[in-house]
Each structure stands twice: as C-alpha cells, then as structure tokens.
Subunit: 202 residues, 2 copies
C-alpha cells in the first residue's frame, strides 16, 4: 500500500480556504487534520472534531518534544498541528488536508517538505474587499489594512506548488480534487517498487 | 490569456497510450499533435488528420532548419513532430497532447523542457504479455524480446513527471485529465501577472 499525501491548503483570509476544505471532505476520502489548542471550547465545538482541547502544560510538553508540524500563539492561546496524528494517517495510506494561514504553511514546508502546498487566491482584490465588507464586522480602515496584509502574503506564493483561484466555489473544489488525483500519479518511490515487481515477473 | 501546455503521453508499446489519447480528445478540449512523415498514406488516412504527408526533400529541409521537436527514421521512412504547428497552438492558448514512444519523448524533453511528461504503464508484465499475445501477430520469441525491451524502456521513467497505470481504461483517462487540470493550477509566470493586477487594484 502506498503512503498518503499531505495537502496544505492555505492563503489569505477571505479567499475561501475553509469552504474549499469542507467541500473537499464531502467529495473525497481525504481526512482533515485536527489542531490542538489551549483555548476553551466554544458552544457546539467537539473534542477531536474541531480541536483537541488541552491545558497549556500539555501543549508546551508536546512543543518541547518537537511534536508539532507547526504552531502559533494567537491572542494568548496556543494552536498547533500534532505531528504524530498526521504521520499515522499518512502511514495508514490516508490523504490528509490541512487548512492553515500562510505563516503556518511556511513552517510545514520546513517540518514536512513532502507536503503539497496549495495557495487559494480570491479572483480579484475588489472581490476580496466585497467579501470582507459583506461580513460587516470591520471598519473601512480595518479592511484596507487587511487588503494590504493580503498583498504582502500573496508574495509568498512562490513557496507553493499550486495556486487555485476561488472565483466559483465548485470549480475551485474540482481543481483541488484534480491536484490530489494528479499528485498520486507523480513518479515517486512507489513506482520503483512496481518496476521491481515487473522484473520479478520476467 | 495564458499559454497552452504540452502533454507528452508516452510508454512502451502495448501499454495503451493510443487509446488513452483518443479518449482524451473526446473528453477534453486538448488537441492532438499531428506528425509529418515521408511514408505513403494508407487507405483511409487523411492529410493533416493522421499525418502531414510530404516528400523526403521537404522533410529533410524542415529537419535542416531545426523544425522538429523530435524525429525518427523507421524502416526507411521519416516521422517528425513539426515544431511551428505545436508552438502556434500553445501560443493560442490550446493544450496539445503528443503520443510518442520513449525515444521521441526523450528528444522532446530537450527541445521543449516545459512539456509535461506522462508515462503509461501496463498494470503488470503478465497483462502486457496477454495484450501482445492477443494481437496474435507475433511468435513467442518475438514476444519475449518485446517484453525485455519494455523492461529496458521502463527504466527511463525517472525522466517523466507522471506515471499512469493503465489497468482500467476510463480510470487511466480520468487520471490523465486530472493531471491536465492540475498542471493548469501550477504556480507559474501567469500567477505573477495576476498578482501584479492585484497590486494595481489597490
């Protein structure tokens, strides 16, 4: 059996990476990577489904043991991707998708370079502005700051393998699904095993 | 408009690359590269569809002008892929598929390294033996010679980007179609143009 592949779906906030991952889980056999966090569960959030909720001591212990593919501290809470859970799934032949911001993706490029990195882009800055404005929770200044931030983040695109423009959501999901299928046909070590089998057959 | 991509579908004889290309043409917008040859048309073969039929002088003139992506001389006849026709289609934004043996594919890797190289493999040597035997035109010795040749050819697989195992034909075609779709999402120069547009929008 061949090993699973890790797909890192990343991009600026508002590009729609969350929706793409959700639809991908419905459409394919891929499994979502669940993060560990020190923050408290919100109403409706389930242990092991949305997050693994742990005390700060436990998180720092895992961190000390180099047990995260990436981690971050946001507003005083820690978030991290547990390495052993992801690697176990991959070893079991399951593909794993990880939805993450750009800083996290860059960490994973170092900790798991065999990952496949997909950057999700909004179709245009004006469309991104519309989407952020539609949420209604931010001022004009906040929005301009966010868009400026997005432009900076987009410059990291050359660290990625693929770029999917999320104009129409189903088309974007189909593209990511095609990337998953194609990556399983890459010439890799598995192919050499097959060739060895051919030789034995002769 | 972005440029088209050149997909080189190659592999040992009997792997089914011809059938895959035929189904790909039905299923997608990709266009087939038509070869130039000095051999005479067989009954039913059409100029410009099966081949461009030319006199030997014309072929050698094109060859002298470095006008082929690859060429070969087989049983006294010349065959070649005209560079200008393929490049024109790519410039027009059309994808092109080229079905070719391994020697030809290796030439194209040099003449057009931006091509995407797909190796078609039979599911097993015993299945390949069955397919060749089924054609009924070769002796046991011929077949063993062919299979030995195939094993040698398979060792060139590391010059390829993808490998598709042709067990079930529709699944194999779907895999090649996924590769085409995925390759259009590769981070490339086109993406940098899009990012420049984002910056202008700000």
């Amino acid at each position: 059996m061949s090993k699973g592949l890790l797909f890192v779906v990343s991009g600026p906030s508002g590009a729609g990476k969350g929706t793409i991952c959700k639809k991908l889980l419905e459409k394919t056999d891929i499994e979502l990577s669940v993060s560990m966090t020190t923050r408290s569960p919100r109403p409706g959030e389930k242990e092991g489904k949305n997050y693994f909720f742990v005390p700060k001591e436990k998180f720092l212990e895992v961190l000390h043991d180099n047990g995260f593919l990436e981690y971050a501290k946001v507003y005083g809470n820690y978030y991290g991707t547990p390495k052993d859970i992801v690697l176990k799934k991959l070893d079991d032949g399951k593909d794993v998708v990880l939805e993450i911001d750009i800083q996290g993706a860059l960490q994973i490029r170092d900790s798991y370079p065999k990952g496949i990195f997909i950057f999700i882009l909004p179709p245009s800055m004006s469309e991104l502005r519309k989407r952020i404005t539609g949420r209604g929770s931010e001022t004009e200044d906040d929005i301009n700051l966010r868009l400026g931030e997005t432009l900076k983040e987009v410059s990291y695109i050359d660290k990625y393998d693929y770029c999917v423009i999320n104009g129409e959501i189903d088309e974007a999901v189909n593209r990511v699904a095609a990337i998953i299928k194609a990556e399983h046909s890459r010439v890799s070590e598995d192919i050499y095993k097959l060739i060895a089998k051919y030789k034995e057959e002769m």
